[in-house]
Amino acid sequence: MDVKIINPILAAFSEILPQIGFCSVRKKGVSLVESCVAYEGVLVNIALLGSIKGVVLIGMSMDSAKQVVSKMMMGMEVPTLDSLAQSALSEMGNMVVANSCMQFNKIGIEGLDISPPTVLISESGTATLPVKKAIKLSFSVDDIDVNVYVGLE
């Protein structure tokens, strides 16, 4: 996978999150990972299809997910990841990945479609992306850890 493929995702993350209630978006790290990734907490799954195809997963712990939803809802207390919280997380995923398609367009990767988001919540699970290798982007958004797994080729 060409590492440059992450730039539109980075740009989208940095552009969208400040629009939905976050003050700071800091990239903590980038690493190449296997297509099979362990997760604890929440994953938002959105697939892309077009001249490149694959999946973007946005992952965070249960507590981080509650904090993210709380920020998106202007500080409202979020005791559980109920259907409203799941909806907020899926909207965030949709906005980031939809915007990344615009960013891909700027570098000549055109005509991408995105799937509706699916949210998975588990205390301990494994996700398998439909690619050989994926790239893990670690962010700190207002001191909340969020991981983005990019499996595109």
């Binding site: 969208i16 629009q19 939905i20 099979c36 994953l43 799954n45 959105i46 697939a47 892309l48 299809l49 195809k53 694959g54 999946v55 997963l57 998106m72 259907s83 799941q86 909806s87 907020a88 997380l89 899926s90 909207e91 949709n94 906005m95 939809a98 915007n99 398609c101 615009m102 367009n105 055109e110 005509g111 479609d113 995105i114 799937s115 509706p116 988001p117 699916t118 949210v119 998975l120 919540i121 588990s122 205390e123 301990s124 699970g125 494994t126 996700a127 398998t128 992306l129 439909p130 690619v131």
Partner: protein, 287 residues
């Protein structure tokens, strides 16, 4: 469009007045106005409009930012973007975000009326897809299992199952795109998946990856077969499948927010397999 309640989001008082005049001339009611993202949600909540028109170019937050904020507040909000710029990529971004209409300035009553009618009309093709999808996907799963395992499999529909369910162990999620987009979710226990591998390969799976790969392939075949069957019924569906994602492990809650799943179980020799399918209206952008 007698009495259709429209809210206008535009920073320019002149543009709001002009658009208000045109809306009045086609029988719409200006239910509310906002000049920025800051006042938009409050105005939307108090006037509960049928349609919101949002100017794309505004100082501070642009039309996309306003649309994101509004859809975050109400995923069912019907937004018509109004802009002097009209190009393919702006239209594609609007579609991906879930915006319903896109009109180029200068706006005229005839265009507004046509776009509003389309945005508000029940979509016959969408209703047809919703009515037939669960049965066709169920049939595709039963057929595929019968062919792969050489043992009869039957699908029993359970109707609408809501937006979430608990996984039995392994879940494959496959996005679907076409005139309307959707998601197929297939879910089965590890034991059922291992029995299918045994039937196909005449041996136990070598490792969990082999089992996962089989489930991915099974999901792919089912989704591809079902989409072909639906496209043969009506080529206007234009359905294609996204690559599958697989999830396994401790009991996971699987949710498709904003999209009701319909589904049921395939009873097979290896165990039962859950299949859920949901579609949402769009991405259709009326222009």
């Amino acid at each position: 469009m007698n009495g259709l309640k429209v809210m206008i989001v535009d920073d320019s008082p002149f543009s709001r007045t002009l658009l208000g005049e045109i809306l009045g001339s086609i029988g719409c009611q200006v239910a509310g106005e906002a000049d920025s993202i800051d006042s938009m949600i409050e105005a939307y909540t108090s006037c509960k409009p049928d349609i919101v028109t949002i100017d794309l170019i505004m100082p501070g937050s642009d039309g996309f930012e306003c649309s994101r904020a509004l859809l975050l507040h109400d995923p069912d909000a019907k937004i018509v973007l109004i802009s002097s710029i009209k190009d393919e990529e702006t239209a594609a971004e609007a579609r991906r975000l879930g915006i319903s209409g896109y009109i180029q300035k200068p706006v005229d009553g005839e265009t507004l009326l046509r776009v509003f009618k389309n945005v508000m009309a029940p979509d016959a093709l969408f209703l047809k897809l919703k009515d037939t999808a669960a049965e066709v996907f169920g049939e595709a799963l039963a057929q595929t299992m019968t062919r792969m395992t050489k043992a009869p499999a039957n699908f029993s529909p359970s109707g609408t199952i809501g937006t979430q369910f608990l996984s039995q162990g392994i879940t494959t999620v496959i996005g679907i795109i076409g005139r309307h987009s959707g998601t197929m979710i297939m879910d089965l226990s590890l034991e059922t998946a291992e029995r299918i591998v045994f039937l196909l390969l005449h041996r136990r799976p070598k490792n969990p990856e082999e089992t996962i790969a089989m489930v991915a392939e099974l999901g792919n075949i089912v989704a591809g077969t079902a989409c072909s069957m639906l496209n043969n019924k009506d080529k206007a569906f234009g359905l294609r499948v996204f690559p599958p994602s697989l999830f396994s492990g401790n009991t996971a809650q699987v949710a498709s927010p904003g999209m009701e799943l319909q589904g049921g179980y395939a009873e097979t020799e290896c165990g039962h397999i859950f299949l859920g399918i949901g579609f949402k209206k769009g991405p259709v952008l009326w222009t």
